[in-house]
């Protein structure tokens, strides 16, 4: 299964989770919808749409819980004809991480996904680097390159 991580510490927990829970797609992201890692997606951009939508669902249900003066929901599950979607968030040393999971109903189940999500959450918490990364500075000529890139993007 093709897994890819922007934040490399998420990769091993993610790969283990995909294997154990026998799921089709996983997306790890920040609550703002920034992708940290994914498994099973074929096109990078679709990953971003999925992240935006997944983060939006989490954001809106968290807000709903807040308005009801309740603790945030543990997880969200949606069951279709053949696939299930599972959404949950966990806390890591690098802040909260939201997981969006898609699984085949004849291969896995929400119970199985939930069970191994707990492991994933623990693995992510253990694997996350605690210290903040050193701030590095982008190259000085990046403004020129940015300008060129934007011009190229709009065909000017």
């Amino acid at each position: 299964m093709s897994a890819r991580a922007v934040e490399s510490w998420t990769l091993q927990p993610l790969t283990d989770f995909v294997r154990e829970a026998a799921v089709r797609l996983v997306l790890l992201m920040t609550p703002a919808g920034q992708v940290l890692a994914q498994s099973g997606f074929s096109r990078a951009v679709d990953v971003m749409s999925a992240a935006a939508l997944g983060a939006a669902i989490i954001a809106s249900t968290t807000e709903m819980a807040r308005q009801m003066k309740q603790a945030p929901f543990g997880f969200l599950s949606h069951q279709g004809q053949r696939h299930g979607i599972f959404l949950a968030s966990s806390v890591t040393g690098r802040g909260p991480v939201v997981a969006l999971v898609v699984y085949d109903l004849d291969v896995s189940s929400v119970g199985l996904v939930q069970l191994f999500f707990e492991q994933l959450a623990a693995d992510l918490a253990a694997a996350s680097p605690k210290e903040t990364v050193n701030k590095q500075v982008l190259a000085a000529d990046f403004e020129r390159e940015l300008s060129n890139s934007l011009n190229a993007l709009f065909g000017r």
Binding site: Q79, S108, G111, L115
Partner: protein
Amino acid sequence: MTTAYSQALDRVTRVRGVRGAMLVAGDDGLVIAEQLMEGIKGPAVAALASSLATRLRRAMAAAGVGNSLFWHLQCDQGALLVVFSGSGVLVVAVAEADVNVGLVRLELLRAAEAAG
């Protein structure tokens, strides 16, 4: 409803050597009702029992022996015993390895009937 469930599970847990009994939604592997001794992880039992049940059901269908009604996973430090109720609910018992299987099976079947 809940009382009916817990009464059904009561009879299972009363069998000597049974450490917990539960009703599990077969399709999604989630707990419906449970009566467990300390240290037994209900959600894990539910998820794994339902997953094993699904796989076993397919193998048995392929072998042409029909729908599975009862199964018993024997392990060296315990056992998992499962009965299928008609409505897709699994009645699950976690037990010691030397439990009286016949008795547990009987109580699981009764519980399945009660659970509908």
